[in-house]
Amino acid sequence: MKAWRIILAVSGIALAAFGVFRLVTEIAPHALLALVIWLLAALVLHDAVLAPSVVGVGWLLRRRISDRARRFLQLGLILSSLVTVVALPMIFLRGSQPAVKALLLRNYGANLLVLIGTIALASLILYAVQVARDRARSSTGSAARGAGE
């Protein structure tokens, strides 16, 4: 294990250092500066904006929604937001390219709504199945108790 750890760490450091070296020596200073700003911005936007908002939504849900419903709501929200992240830039850039490129021609906004609708429906069906199951279980439970009396 220890040998593997050393091999992984050393080759990792070497590869990363090689990448940094190539960046610093081959990329123009103004572009390099922009790249550093992008890297820092990505870190800050994710850690200080995106992640806390997700945690915040989770906290709100925990306060407002019952545990059973919350599980399915979480499922639907996770799926929808993952799809939305991919769709958003395409909604924004739709129609930005010459038509012959056959690029970004679709109605991504409408398609996203279709996907979110499908995801919502699927989550709702799963939730309904869970509720029905719980009811069936509790009624057979009380029936069994009734028979024992």
Binding site: W4, A9, A42, R62, V85, P98, A102, L105, Y108, L115
Partner: protein, 370 residues
């Protein structure tokens, strides 16, 4: 999963880089004809799938950011810095990669170079991270979920507070989505993203491609275009009736427009595949590049330079040698019609297992170099 995805991205990315800068002693093979289509389709599909994977991975380890005290030792401080590099490069790689697919460049650097060098930094950071976390990874893969805490920053066997050292974990006080439910959600999210985008390269799934950037059916002659005739500013030169193809070699000669038709008898079904992750198979007809080269006094071992009428663009020329030379066509027809101007009229290169941009369009000069 994320580690595997990044590994796949690294390998397919390097394979693509090799297309652009091959070593002379190992020319790019011509077989399989769908090689580049497959590797780059996988690269972009995996990259898109990495967006949800990465976001969820970061969410799951986010609490570790607020571990107190923030810096326990020099070792931990170094680890935190390397993790910041890992997270920042991973985010920038997937974001800029996706924007490149969408042909949007809101940054001042040249995308391919920075994407490649940043990939070295990212993969290096991942290797280092795996090296640091190896005991936890081994433990996490062996242990059962309820008995293991795999997300702590401290290796479990050095952490007295770790519940792995104190028995089974009770159910969390507010049972929301379970670990298994979370994994199903991520799997489904990745599945939906891949399924709705991969139609841009797996052509039968085109209709499912609700979120696919490219739509091959909407391109001229059933094939999308990346560099348009208008962008390339080749209108006058490419449509001139006086166009000629100059072939330079031991026995130089010229071909005019009427010379092309009787020679355009070679047919091939080849995909055109872009590094941006779209591809489509097409029926091509044209001249055999090898015939043209042989007539100029070249041989099957010659290195060929093909030059476009387009000026001032890095990819206005390309080289063919080795196995691709005998397989390549100088295409005049695409899917049964005379080549569209946007597809490279009057003459373009099309070769198997080759990056789209290296199939030079609007040719007017071919040089037999050796």
């Amino acid at each position: 999963m994320l580690g595997i995805a990044i590994g796949v991205l690294f390998v397919t990315g390097l394979l693509s880089h090799y297309q652009y800068e091959p070593w002379s002693w190992l020319p790019e093979p011509a077989k399989p004809v769908w090689g580049y289509r497959l590797t780059q389709g996988i690269h972009v599909a995996t990259g898109l799938a990495t967006i949800p994977l990465l976001l969820v991975k970061l969410w799951s380890v986010y609490p570790n950011l607020f571990r107190f005290p923030p810096i326990r030792s020099v070792k931990r401080a170094i680890e935190r810095v390397t993790l910041a590099i890992l997270v920042a490069t991973a985010l920038v790689q997937v974001i800029t990669g996706f924007l490149n697919v969408l042909n949007w460049y809101p940054f001042p650097w040249y995308f391919p170079t920075v994407h490649r060098f940043l990939a070295y930094v990212l993969v290096g950071s991942v290797l280092l991270h795996v090296g640091v976390k190896l005991p936890d990874i081994a433990y996490g893969l062996q242990a059962r979920v309820r008995e293991a805490d795999v997300l702590t920053e401290v290796p479990w066997d050095e952490n007295p507070e770790s519940h792995s050292n104190a028995g089974t974990l009770p159910d969390p006080p507010t049972p929301g989505i379970s670990r298994r439910g979370m994994l199903s959600a991520v799997g489904a999210g990745v599945g939906v993203v891949v399924l709705t985008t991969v139609g841009q390269t797996v052509t039968p799934l085109e209709r499912l491609g609700l979120l696919a950037p490219r739509q091959w059916t909407k391109g001229p002659q059933g094939v999308p275009v990346n560099r348009t005739a208008e962008q390339a500013k080749i209108m006058a030169a490419a449509t001139s009736p006086a166009w000629t193809l100059e072939v330079v070699g031991p026995r130089p000669y010229r071909l005019t427009l009427p010379d092309l038709e009787p020679r355009a008898v070679h047919e091939a079904r080849l995909p055109i595949n872009c590094v941006e992750g779209w591809s489509v198979g097409a029926d091509w007809r044209g001249l055999s590049l090898l015939d043209v080269v042989l007539q100029a006094g070249g041989t099957i071992d010659s290195r060929i330079l093909l030059i476009s009428v387009e000026e001032n663009w890095g990819f206005n020329h390309s080289f063919v040698e080795g196995p691709q030379l005998s397989a390549a066509l100088l295409a005049t027809h695409l899917n049964g019609q005379r080549l569209d101007l946007d597809h490279g009229y009057p003459l373009r290169l099309i070769s198997p297992n080759r990056a789209g941009v290296l199939n030079t369009k609007w040719l007017n000069r071919i040089e037999v170099l050796t």
